[in-house]
Symmetry: C2
Subunit: 160 residues, 2 copies
DNA sequence: ACCGCATATCTTGACGTCAAGATAAATGGA
DNA sequence: TCCATTTATCTTGACGTCAAGATATGCGGT
């Protein structure tokens, strides 16, 4: 009888006509990801980064040397609007973690490049972040993790 | 090979020392819930409600007649800060869907009551919303839904 | 009866996000 | 070559959220 069960029980009493199976899954997903986001944010904040900033730095880092992508590339990898990406880059540039360099091939575009400080920040943060992710999923056995991943992959495939 | 697999492949190439199992689960969860939130928001918006507003109206509705709860009660059921709840109530009051009535038992407190229009709005929206949730999970068999729910319940229990 | 602490709600200021539109450069067909 | 269209990025204004603190009432021990 967790919090979501209590919500479903209320609905059953008030609106017995409603099928609550999907509600339960969606409700648990929502509450769960709210908790997870808070845990992740806290650890990244201890590294001096917001999760938004980390998201961009990590995308640049994993793209490989020379750690440069256009805003459009970043956009296509991160599920945010163009205005949000501009804002994220502005913040990171102000913090000295990335710089905008001219794109010689296309003057409409720029390249966002990790600075030395940006590379150092993300290299330091990513290890801590991954360890934190492992901590957050450690209540599952290897088999359960595989099962969950399979189900999430199938669910996600509905949308991507 | 979905989007998350591509991200994990990049990390494997750049940082083969990192174990990406937890990253995969967390990444899929995050992308999935972003998609789900957008789908849910869109349907509720067609009902004239934001998901924040619906959240409050639904909490009042499922609490049963006379559909009245204090802001503190609402707070304890909805994972938002007190300032956010005040703001949500303000919006709903402006829209005529709830009203603040004095709490005769405690003058520090007020009761948030569904108005006639608020009750009508949530009764209309909840059916459409639940149908939408069912649509969003319809790619799963009954067994898969049960399996997913079990795993999510266990995961959520880590935090609540 | 009083006073200090607890409780309940609201206020303030800062962020991150989005949708819609603005700006500027590239492209391709006539 | 030229211009209409497309592409790439940035700007603007509005929201929803939070943390921290303000305000007001209740409550319990002396």
């Amino acid at each position: 009888m967790d919090r979501v069960d209590k919500i479903l029980a209320q609905w059953s009493r008030e609106r017995p006509d409603l099928d609550t199976e999907a509600m339960g899954i969606m409700g648990r997903l929502k509450r769960l990801t709210t908790h997870l986001a808070r845990e992740v944010d806290q650890v990244l904040q201890e590294q001096g980064l917001s999760s938004s900033s980390f998201d961009v730095l990590a995308t640049l880092r994993r793209s490989g040397a020379p750690y440069r992508l256009s805003p459009g590339d970043l956009l296509s990898m991160t599920m945010v609007s163009s205005g949000t990406m501009t804002n994220r880059i502005d913040q990171l540039e102000k913090a000295g973690l990335v710089e905008r360099v001219l794109n010689p091939d296309d003057r409409r575009s720029v390249l966002i490049a990790l600075t030395k400080a940006g590379l150092a920040a993300v290299e330091s943060a990513v290890g801590v972040h991954v360890a934190n992710q492992q901590r957050l999923t450690k209540s599952f056995s290897a088999e359960e993790k595989a099962q969950l991943d399979t189900l999430l992959r199938k669910f996600l495939a509905t949308f991507e």
